[in-house]
Amino acid sequence: MIDPYYLQQLAIGLSLGMTYALMAIGFTLIFGVLNVVNFAHGEVYTLGAFAGLVLITASAPPIFAAIFAALAIGAFAGFSLERLAFKPFRRFTDEASLKSRAMRESTLLSSLAVSIIVREGLEIVFGSQMRSVPFEYLINTPVRVGPVILVTGDFIIFAVSAVMLIGLQYLLRRTRVGLSIRAVSNNPLGAKYVGIDTDRTIIMTFVVGSMMGAAAGILVGLYYGAIFPAMGFVPGIKAFVAMVMGGLSSIPGAVICALILGIAESMATTFVSSGWSDMVAYGFLILTLIFFPSGLFGAGRERV
């Protein structure tokens, strides 16, 4: 018989992993189409959380309205991020410069710069202290499931993430937008030749990815009840680890690795203090890079 405590940690880990998965999908989609890493993704998560918080304190809407506000802000953030930090560096569209290191590094640094600006801007507007979510919005009412006590937040996070993941699969497999996203990530130049508007597709990718990140932000904010400008950094790194473990451009791989990461972390808090549990993610990252450099689920790539 398994100790109920571990079952409980497993459930918490699953819902934690689901939020990492939502973040990791944003990274993976953007890496797929542009071959670059978006370092401002953590800030999109923070923006989503703050959008929900502002709406909640202003007009006390139902909880799903807050999530929709986060989604809207996420979409807007994704759009402006692409225009600001990525578009100016795509001056040439030939294959060599799309894959060049100069372009990859300048977008990496420009997204870092944008993330600094957004984070410091939020600190000026909201202060760097934690802002607590009004009590009635916290999703932590205990629910008893068999021998395990969970909170409503675990179910809400799991349900919302599952719906969004299924929605993403529908979008990618069954719609024209999804088809063009897959085409661009497969071969940007080929997609251009057959008449796909690559610029619009890239924007759509940013919008979809950032909506997922922003949703993760508001869900975690409501779950823990604390929202602050620097909150996006650690989940951003975790999601990034999940993406690398999953093989950079594989969405199912990223989701599975995010769940593994979430469970491993919540299990680790059983044995060590919570400060050390972040070590798990970095340890996984280094081990993956050394032993499975192309990721656990990634297709073979030429060089790592």
Binding site: L112, A113, E120, G275, M279, V304
Partner: protein
């Protein structure tokens, strides 16, 4: 006729040295405010940090996102040696560099085969792991409370802990390290590193031992970061993990990007700009941190080669310091031996 004998050749380095060792202390002494000394020392330490990152990211082209952690290792080594073993600055200065280099070498062993974004991710993870150790190993590092270093600067029995003494010590150590880094990055060795940056597969095929070179340069740069860390620990007298977190690594990276990747004078200018600009903008209050981001963004957008790009920096170095600069038979300068 040896070109290096002509007096006009050494004007720029002479002026810089004069400014650092004579003009600036005179200005500082005339203001006589401890705060200005702090700023001067801080900028010098960041000049050293930016120069050491320049070696890895600028010359060898390896995006290093965990540099501040090695700076932290150096600072903690100095602080722990000074408080627990009672060693003076004479010993902690080289030892902290060596410990940082040793740790860098150990983490480099498995990770240096990685390239491009994988390398960047690995250094980020290493930096974060070291930071977590500093933050969470409370028994050893005192965790978030930080360590108070009571030992001031004291070299070979001479007490240098006064304001001017501290400044001169920091300035001398930083100048020596920067000269060493300059010689290294403008030598044949530096050219080999540049070949890794341009195309590591090609360099490998030409017989450059890329993995070994990467390990060497990573270790060397950690050594200089460790030296900077021990200067910081003894200068401020108090260190805490917050000084060495990810955003510091990014600040150092921003310095060399703003100054110009691959250019040592650029790295120095970038470090001075990003330390002094926020201080100058103190009147703007909270906006100064945003300015770091804005300056970084604008410089990537409008000055992709940085304030003083590599080509012009090489030209400057060649004109001013070409004492032992080797030329090929047809007169093309190729660097120091």
């Amino acid at each position: 006729m040896n070109a290096s004998k002509s007096p006009t050749r050494l004007i720029v380095p002479a002026l810089v040295l004069l400014a650092v060792f004579a003009a600036l202390p005179a200005v500082l002494a005339s203001f006589d405010r401890g705060y200005f000394y702090q700023i001067a020392n801080l900028s010098l330490i960041f000049v050293l940090l930016a120069s050491s990152l320049h070696l890895v990211t600028g010359v060898a082209g390896l995006l290093h996102l965990g540099h501040a952690a090695f700076y932290g290792v150096g600072a903690y080594t100095a602080a722990l040696l000074a408080t627990k073993a009672g060693l003076g600055f004479t010993f902690t200065l080289p030892l902290s560099g060596l410990v940082a280099a040793l740790i860098a070498f150990l983490v480099a062993l498995p990770t240096m085969r990685l390239v491009s974004i994988y390398f960047a991710v690995a250094t980020l993870a290493i930096g974060q792991m070291l930071y977590l150790v500093m933050l969470n190993w409370v028994d050893f590092t005192k965790g978030p409370n930080g360590i108070i270093v009571t030992k001031g600067l004291n070299l070979f029995g001479f007490d240098l802990s006064g304001r001017l003494g501290t400044y001169y010590t920091v300035a001398a150590v930083v100048t020596l390290c920067v000269i060493a880094i300059g010689r290294l990055s403008h030598s044949y060795y530096g050219n080999a590193l540049r070949s890794i940056r341009e195309d590591d597969q090609c360099a490998d095929a030409m017989g450059v031992r890329t993995v070994r070179l990467k390990m060497e340069v990573f270790t060397l740069s950690a050594f200089f970061a460790g030296v900077a860390g021990s200067l910081w620990a003894h200068m401020t007298g108090y260190i805490s993990p917050g000084d060495f977190k990810f955003s510091e690594s990014i600040l150092i990276l921003a310095m060399i990007v703003v100054g110009g990747l691959g250019s040592l004078p650029g790295a120095i200018i970038g470090a001075l700009l990003l330390i002094l600009l926020p201080e100058g903008l103190r009147g703007m209050g909270d906006f100064r941190n945003i300015m770091v981001g804005v300056v970084m963004f604008l410089s990537i957008l409008f000055l992709p080669k940085g304030l003083l790009g590599e080509v012009s920096a090489l030209k400057l170095v060649r004109q001013q310091l070409n004492a032992a600069w080797r030329r090929t038979d047809n007169g093309i300068g190729i660097g120091w031996r």
